[in-house]
Symmetry: D2
Subunit: 359 residues, 4 copies
């Protein structure tokens, strides 16, 4: 339980890092939506590690096969299922450390949850690899949204990696510019000149056999006011639930988020005005959402990624087999900083959330 989501865009993901395959089934798509499978594959490629020297050397093809739900290039209205075969798995890497719980990973919690029957190889179903089906589902959602809501834009930027931080964006109109693209789409920054420093922070962590965290900002432009609900189905509730589904996410804020706790209402309320006949807010501290519902301003949110828990440095842990203390140096092929592969996942989660709201 836990791998099924959605009211209207019903998503079910499956798979384990070293099993036969991973994939997703989407139920609830309207019929007749043209799906550009090359564009879908290119979304998967954005997430994949292929050839990126800053990412895991595991070669993940992430080639999607659509099993159902598309006929003559368009959705049929029946469930759309996609399958990615696992390749290049080296399960032997994991067998010897089966009983050594990797700190910061799901190993110990999953062991308690599943009584030791979980597939431990590469984290099994908890692997970051399961974000590939998420990105696939997000890509399908994007295809659909581009038809039913063409003015909608979904974007993300890297705000910080380690201690290298880009600035907050005060003026919400900036997002309407950013949505058109970044200087380096593979490393989306508000201030492109920070790329080298951020990469150095990753390389430094890698060289220390360590890892580093970072912050991603997601944003949505062109969403009309009046989308969302109060309480349990608020945009914040629905979107945060999806964002916290992404492995390594430990915080989600909307708009000015935690900064608002030390301010006053006169500073954080977003005054309204009519500007050239359009209703808009003066500021966007609420991140485009009031009462769980869009107000027409860009939806802006921040997602905190912790450092990848897989590190080569020696760590203190336990051996569950003999319930003894132990030490562990994690071998295998890992990402020193997940952020550079995670921002497309943030966008995918956003697209899935919007698809569910806008259907």
């Amino acid at each position: 339980m836990g791998s099924t989501w959605g009211n209207k865009f019903k998503l079910s993901i499956f798979g384990e890092s070293h099993g036969n395959g991973i994939g997703a089934v989407i139920d609830g798509l309207p019929a007749g939506i043209k799906i550009d499978l090359e564009r879908v594959q290119s979304e998967l490629n954005r997430r994949a590690a292929r050839g990126n020297p800053l990412a895991t050397p595991r070669k993940e093809g992430d080639q999607i096969e659509v099993l159902s739900g598309i006929f003559n290039g368009k959705t049929t209205g029946a469930p759309l299922a996609g399958l990615i075969r696992n390749e290049n798995t080296r399960s032997g890497d994991y067998a010897k450390t089966k009983d050594l719980m990797r700190p910061g990973h799901a190993d110990y919690a999953a062991n308690a949850r599943y009584g030791g029957f979980q597939d431990y190889r590469g984290g099994g179903h908890f692997s970051g690899r399961l974000t590939a089906p998420l990105v696939f589902a997000g890509a399908i959602a994007k295809e659909m949204l581009s038809v039913i809501c063409p003015e909608l834009g979904i974007g993300s930027r890297i705000v910080s990696i380690g201690e290298v931080k880009d600035t907050p964006i005060e003026d919400w109109k900036v997002y309407q510019t950013l949505i058109r693209g970044f200087k380096n789409p593979a490393f989306p920054l508000y201030h492109a000149n920070l790329e080298e420093a951020m990469k150095q922070a990753i390389i430094a962590a890698m060289e220390d056999e360590d890892s580093v965290g970072g912050l991603v900002e997601g944003f949505i432009t062109g969403l009309e006011p009046g989308i969302g609900n109060p309480f349990f189905e608020s945009i914040e509730s629905r979107l945060s639930a999806l964002l916290f589904s992404i492995p390594a996410v430990k915080g989600v804020t909307f708009g000015a988020g935690f900064e608002m706790v030390s301010l006053r209402g006169s500073q954080t309320n977003d005054g309204l005005r009519i500007n050239n006949g359009q209703i808009e807010t003066l500021t966007n501290h609420n991140g485009g959402i009031n009462g769980g519902i869009s107000n027409g301003m860009p939806i802006v949110f921040q997602v905190a990624f912790k450092p990848t828990p897989s590190i080569g440095k020696e760590q203190q842990t336990i051996n569950l087999a003999n319930r003894n203390n132990a030490t562990l140096k994690i071998q295998g092929r890992h990402d020193p900083c997940i952020v550079i592969r995670a921002f497309p996942v943030v966008e995918a989660a956003t697209a899935i959330c919007l698809a569910d709201f806008l259907l």
Copy 2:
């Protein structure tokens, strides 16, 4: 849509600030759970504003009437419905400002969502008053949890109000102490000596016809490892969705949250050890959750409350009736700082979430 929640502990809340009544229906309770209605009422009283000079002068009785689901003092297994009549409503306060959208409130977004048919009086269904049914449901959840999981503890503390900040708690064992109670349960602080400064921050805001935000930390002790799920039903996903349902919440983090983005894995991974035969982590940066599942450590999370949007200061806004710019000074009776009434709501949301997981 938006006021129904839960897989097993199914909750439906209803009501508007100035309507006939507010309440909740809970479906899924096991039969035979003893419900102490005085304790339930006392939870509602914690949230109510009665007589608190720092809160709204609206006198809210918040007297709960149980309509069904309890027989001879115990749950019957049938839906438990509770009703709170609205009293002391002065709807006239709102009629004159019906078309003036209150900045920071749901007014404009709700107007777009419901085409102007929403009950605008006092925010209608978006009112903070709807947290009373949440607290009622949370109190029922607590009653149930005290029977099915007696070692469980649910607590919260005020971490900051405006710029007055309490310190983070590094040692997770502290939560096992805090769960036993606070010096002033009505103002739960790690460092009780900060109470006066925090109250002054509220009074200062009140005197300026302004409001102020704050930070609440929630925590759960005594939760066994192995509770939760990966992905969409992770503890983080489920709990954040409930917490973001609370009006004025704009951020949720777990464990070290946003601090982790600038750290390295060697700093944030929580090493494991066997201590007196017990498995525990050395630190608790992950807030007791790995892979969406409890690891046996205290669950710790932070909830950012923005300043109450209702302020007496003049604000720039629009008049929807004539689509003109306008100014607004909000009359009526409001809370200058929601935090001092919100921490019981955070606990209630936590109890509801746990009830759903543990049933």
Copy 3:
């Protein structure tokens, strides 16, 4: 669990026969729907037993109070909650037979399910009285459908009571006539002349301190083709689930139903034709549904009601307190034939189902 239903028209019913009140909460209604509360009350009156000599002498006022969700006569978009206070309860009737399981009733099954903690008075939550909230929800659904789908008609007729049987309707065009009304709306018959014989069957059962079953046919006219889904969300699946929620229902068929099992495809396939530019079927053995989806013909279904299990005749049963065999003559006030009060409930369930499909 079991008292919550719906994807879009989310319904939660609550209450027990002899508790404080019964009611329903509906979440998901669009805003701005005009609700005629007199018409809603009149639907409740159709189900109520007031003054009907063939029904229980218990006087059920069934006066609905709307607690929320309506403002200025229209839906607000927030949950609509309705409450009916229980009156004229004579719980003493039940106390003495608490441990004697009434055959045909839920007593023994509920006792096993709820460990004896269920409210046993008058069947508690299992009481036919809980169909009042269903009828309330159905009446709200009808109000909504009359706005969003004005050409839709929902009707029902009594097909049989005991051995007195009306004829099947072969020509689907007849339903377009019946939808405009029956000679006696309180006793809707295709052949009105059967009313007396049916009433005599009820009286005969009453005089024998017995009860009698009957068959209700429900129908929907004016539903456009293309509503519904394959498999688990087919019209048949969704509607049958609601119909089987009505106490005493033991069978549901669509179209020619069980007659089809002994026929051939050439007899039961409904040929298609263009008639005056309209697509229609020659016959309607499939009851207006193919593949779970409406085909534009009247939706027709039959609902089998068993005889009311409460009878005055002596019955063999057990005493759960001492686990001995026992006999029981049921006292209290009961309906000798539920059918004459149940057809409005069938319509209500149908309206609720359609509301969920058409939102």
Copy 4:
């Protein structure tokens, strides 16, 4: 929408008759359940048409590949996904009749629902082939039930084919015998001597290029009292929803079903007694269910299958391309009577339903 089901045993099925593959994803399985994949495959083989002269000559391998969720022969607790590749598809059979709506099939309704974008080949997602993923899911459910509830028995028998009818079973103890097996498991009959007559009824229909309907009775033995819920989650509601998901089902009754409408309460109430310390009912007209909850007697239900709509006989229909009347003789390879392949599907639906209740 429509292909996802379940509260705890969450099932998502996908695929089209002539697409790349069909399959199912099951979320919610506990970890550590041993899965005998040969037994699972044998359930699929029961449904498959291979070599049966009374079934379609299309050779369906129905070989299942498990993609995830099983590790070392046991469930991992992660979603279990299974894939069946389509083989032996002759799509050309369908292209020429694309615009001719097959009477009794979903063609016209689906066309209205999906705007013509549905995969029309062999009925697409509406094909009876989609019962293979249902049987797969049912087989997994059976594996699980055999571990968590080993005393449970799920069975079915053919009651009638065309006008050849087996007798009703009055004595509920008979089901405890039947559950141990039938003389010919491939043709399960209470009176085995009817097999030849039933087969002749099928052959006669086949020779006439026609088809014939039939009745299947499902039953559950060994289910403890107290399983189920009132109202929307009653056993009847949940099970009927699943049974009506099976293509060609047009009626579902429980216990004595439609016979009860003409009887009296004194005839249909099932008296209770203590027999050798066990509580049992004298009769089982209620089919083992009261108030939606099991009472410890065998659960018995009947499922009406209409004749297969695909027949070679000429039928009147329409050509949607030119909106003209037309005639149609269906070519291709079809089953003259679905019943002989459907009873394993009835059992699968039953197993899925029980898995959801008993988890």
